[in-house]
């Protein structure tokens, strides 16, 4: 079962500030598909993502990433484990350009120390040029190549999102986690980002796990969906089945009010 799973969580419980945020969540995101993670506000979706990435510790539970036990790994090990992510709201280093922010994703591959940088050795220059080129390719893939050399904090929110996604892509991680990539985007921007993600899937790109509020986006992109409510997993399965399940509708509408 585990070799074609990208992420397997078992009995994960997370407590933050005395509050139980996740309660015994067991989840399995398959490799090679786009999966959705949905749920009302405060359900624990981002916390779950943060746990997967090693940012938030769990009280109990284990996680496997791409077939390997990752329970004890720290955040900085995630990329080598094959996992990249974007953040809720665009996250970036403001005093760098768009392409430099994307290069950050690939920076583990650079080999530039103070001596080679000072002497501008061919190897150091090559290493940097190569990563810059790959970052540009990633930006082009997302459709924002023209913005590469602009300062990132001058870009629109939607474009910053795309740069964030390009940063995750340039890592060549086998699995990427997207935390509400569509939030705050206009309808056209959503459509174009959906198209980019679909395209990635068609090209055999990374496994994608997506937190999303827009159900239209979820049903369009995600083959599989898991639903969290108040820290508990209340459903998982093929997206159309999950979205029409009674428990899910109840969780979103609130019990008692639909009757």
């Amino acid at each position: 079962m585990s070799h074609d799973s990208a992420i397997v969580l078992q009995d994960v419980s997370v407590t933050l500030g005395g509050n139980r945020i996740l309660k015994n969540v067991s989840l399995d995101f398959a490799q090679g598909v786009t999966s959705g993670l949905i749920g009302p506000n405060g359900a624990g979706k981002t916390t779950l993502l943060n746990y997967i990435c090693g940012i938030v510790p769990a009280v109990s539970g284990t996680r496997r990433i791409l077939g390997r036990d990752a329970t004890r790994l720290g955040t900085h090990d995630m990329l080598t484990a094959g996992l990249a992510r974007t953040f809720q709201g665009a996250q970036f280093v403001g005093d760098l350009t768009a392409v430099e922010n994307v290069m950050l994703g690939a920076h583990l591959r650079t080999r530039v120390n103070i001596l080679t940088a000072a002497l501008r050795t061919p190897a150091a220059m090559r290493s940097e040029a190569e990563i810059r080129a790959r970052a540009r390719v990633a930006l082009e893939r997302i459709g924002v190549a023209a913005l590469a050399d602009r300062q990132i904090n001058e870009l629109s929110f939607g474009d910053q999102r795309k740069v964030d996604l390009a940063r995750a892509l340039v890592t060549e991680a086998e699995c990427i986690l997207l935390d509400e990539p569509m939030a705050g985007l206009s309808a056209e921007e959503k459509d174009s980002l959906c198209e980019v993600l679909r395209e990635l899937r068609r090209e055999g790109g990374p496994t994608i796990v997506l937190i999303e509020h827009d159900m239209r986006v979820v049903s369009e992109l995600c083959a599989w969906t898991a639903v969290l409510d108040a820290g508990e997993l209340i459903a998982q399965g093929p997206t159309d089945e999950v979205l029409s399940a009674d428990v899910v509708i109840e969780a979103y509408m609130g019990t008692g009010q639909t009757a």
């Binding site: 080598t80 996250q91 403001g94 920076h107 583990l108 120390n113 890592t171």
Partner: protein, 288 residues
Amino acid sequence: MDILVGTLLLASMYALVAFAWVLMFKTTGILNLATGAHLAIGAYLFDTFATRWELPWAITIAGWLVSGLAIAWVTQMGLFRRLAGQPEFVLVIATLGLASLLKGVQSLTWGTDSRLIREPFRDEFYFLPGDAVISAYGIATIGVAVVVFVASGIFFSRTKIGVEMRVTAEHAILAAQSGIRVDRIYIIGWWIAFSIASLAGILYAYNTALSPNMGDALGLRGIAPALVGGLDSIRGVIPGALIVAFAEVVGVRLLGGQMQDVTAWIVILAVLLIKPNGLFGSASVNRV
């Protein structure tokens, strides 16, 4: 001319101390009140290796760097790692505690006398046109400051660790997510700040004497150029140091030696009134 020489010499030392303040503020986001204590401890360690044990210079420098790394490691892993996530206020108070601790260690270990450090070469004086005098150690001080700033310019803009430090400073989680070991980066930050602050202490000791209260005197003075240039601006350090040093040299010339501290703070107040974030600081500094 002698005003110019005096300004350059003072500015070199101030720039180094201010750089240590700004570096810690940039990498960890806290005002490191132990900067002065670092400055003194580092200089005393150097003195122990150089003067008391009379070790060869290469070993003295290596010993000073390694002990700085050890202090940086203990500071991060033993103290600040455990305080991660605490409000900024707590972290700043922790640096104050660290400062008292280091000062205690300093006076217990090295006493309260001033002393001279073993010299690598004989000091000589050179007479410049316009009645100015500069000592060999004065020239060395200015030279060291220039080398440190050129090297750190390359380090932060072009090397992997330098870029990692900038990224960690701005966004620690994004940095960790990109595979950067944040703890290691903080240790390196403490280490570089310690080394640069204590370098200023060592140079100060060669220009005057190694004195137990130089941590307070020079360390706190170094925050003036950091504030003038902008606490989060490495670029602002040199102009800030030049302005403060010039004001002090002129202030002492016109008003006498006891005005030295006063002029520095007058400059700070003037700059803060006109540009609250310092001359080169960004508007996001709202913490101190």
